[in-house]
Amino acid sequence: MTVTDIKAKLMQGNQACAEGAIYAGINFYAGYPITPSTEIAEVLAERMPEEGGKFIQMEDEIASMAAIVGASLTGAKTMTATSGPGFSLKQENFGYGIVAETPCVVVNVQRLGPSTGGPTAPAQGDMMQARWGTHGDHPVIALCPSTVQECFDLTVKAFNLAEEFRTPVLLLLDEVIGHMRERVFVPQPGELEVVDRIKPEAGTQNYLAYQPVDSTLVPPMASFGDGYRFHVTGLLHDETGFPTNNSEVMGSLIERLHQKIERGREKIVIVEEIDIDDADVVIIAYGCVARSAQKAQKMARKKGQKVGILRLITVWPFPEEEVLRVAEKAKALIVPEMNRGQIKDVVQSAVVGKAEVYGIGNVDGEMVSPCQILAKIEEVL
């Protein structure tokens, strides 16, 4: 690649997310305006028809989530974006998407909550809602960008995972990342992998929409209109897609939904490790706070303190093994986040006492600063 091929653009995180969606091949977007996610809808309202896709502003977030699942069933790559209050409204149909195994991407640009909260204040308070917001036992995939470049790249990744694993995928931004402007290298077509869902093989007889055909446990997915006339429901169903009350069948569906994500772990779970080999203290961070962590880590190293970083790019499924490995070597783990310890608690249970875990939890809409982290490092060393 020559230098002139590289397209560097100054972009906002939300804009990079929208452009990433276009790179991934989005065909359909439905949303409802809410700060601090609105720019994603505004960019796509303009860009979608240019790309031959469809944009619709629905009457609310419930409808937006419904519309992207409906559109996905016709074969479209779909996305919606929202923030706290809207994320709450999407939960029921998000769960529907999981049970009906419908690929789609849901972006939550987190703001300070609960309730209407602080609409323009950043937070990371929806980490547990992302995990457990919809009712019942279900698996979740959630990615968490820390830079504007990653907003682009991880949006592409989110579409890829949604298509490959036939499931809704969450992209958890925060107000800082969504509104920040940075340089983005827009990849050329073909430079980043773009995955499309597996369809039933041509000529398939007796297609069963919910029957896996290989060890991935992900059933091939036909589109409405392809001629298979299958049934889709949020009721627990057998491999034909029709509802059942049979406890064995209901239980094995829930089990398979978890297993297909579990088996894909290697493709799904991404972390970044910085200087952890000799680290006494490891900072475990994600999203905007990972930026402060990087600053603090550099400053600590300059002072001669052995500090490393484990950055969680995938937050759900939780990178338990990666965290445990770090805990086995380090003395202390610091989990700075903009909530009251939602991920710290998960880290704590993952490390089973192998290292001390300390949290920093800002819930006032102020970024966790490098100084806050440095002070904690001093305290625990």
């Binding site: 419904a66 519309a67 559109a71 016709t74 074969g75 209109g225 006339r229 429901t233 029709f242």
Partner: protein, 271 residues
């Protein structure tokens, strides 16, 4: 089952879950007759529903079928239709599903005049959850949650959908079935938001709570209280009191949503 209709059913899914005497089956037959008359391609037709007894209908029908969450069928259907306008999209909903929890989606679907045909089974009650009052229960009606009689006034849902901007609005019932078939057929022919209220019965809950007799008596009552729009025009206000008017209540030629959107796509792509 009539031989020419058998291909529209997933006969292996029968018998259905509905109670003996429930009018849902009668309305489904009218729907299927209308689809047959309109000659819709089963492979290119999607039937979407919400949650309720009536919303179980798609499971028995041999099309692309989408049984969604309570009240949200029109929102899912909007996604299906806009993403692939070549598909014929039919929505089956109940009075609770479509006018209570789903009321917002109903008026916005109508306002957009998106090409969906919405068939609302109005049995004046929440059947599936065991007989609670709905926004379509008449004043005074008894239900498990209105043991002293319903104090709320019901919607005139056809008026609401008309006022919201739908291009085709009709009302039929489960007694006058050939009229109902025809009303659904015209809805399928209309390119735009078509809404058909089909008055149904729930003998098990609404009938029993309100002492309306046997299932057949409830159907006969529809014969009495439903009058066609044409007949109503010749009647005095006194004669019309207590009657429910059926037929095509509203029709207007209006731009359809997905066609409008396609124009934008075409314009952007020419640039």
């Amino acid at each position: 089952m009539l031989a020419h209709l058998e291909k529209y059913f997933r006969t292996e899914r029968l018998p259905h879950i509905w109670c003996p005497g429930c009018a849902n089956g009668i309305i489904v037959k009218s729907l299927v007759e209308a689809i047959d008359k309109a000659g819709l391609d089963q492979d290119k037709t999607v039937i979407v529903s919400g949650i309720g007894c009536s919303s179980r209908a798609p499971g028995y029908l041999n099309f692309n079928t989408l049984h969604t969450t309570h009240g949200r069928a029109i929102a899912f259907a909007t996604g299906v239709k806009l993403a692939n306008p070549e598909l014929n999209v039919i929505v089956v909903t109940g009075d609770g599903d479509g006018t209570s929890i789903g009321g917002n989606h109903l008026i916005h679907g109508a306002r957009r005049n998106i090409d969906l045909t919405v068939l609302l089974f109005n049995n004046s009650i929440y059947g599936m959850t065991g007989g609670q009052y709905s926004p379509m229960s008449p004043q005074g009606a008894k239900a498990t949650t209105s043991p002293y009689g319903n104090i709320e006034r019901p919607f005139d849902i056809c008026n609401l959908v008309t006022a919201s901007g739908a291009s085709y609005v009709a009302r039929g019932n489960s007694y006058h079935t050939s009229q109902l078939t025809n009303l659904i057929y015209q809805g399928l022919q209309n390119k735009g938001f078509s809404f058909i209220e089909a008055i149904s019965t729930c003998p098990v809950y609404f009938g029993r709570k309100n002492k309306l007799g046997r299932p057949a008596d409830m159907l006969k009552m529809q014969k009495e209280f439903c009058i066609s729009k044409e007949a109503a025009e010749k009647m005095s206000a006194e004669e019309k009191a207590g009657k429910v008017i059926t037929g095509v209540l509203h029709y207007a030629e209006l731009p359809e949503y997905t066609e409008q959107y396609q124009k934008i796509v075409d314009k952007c792509q020419r640039r």
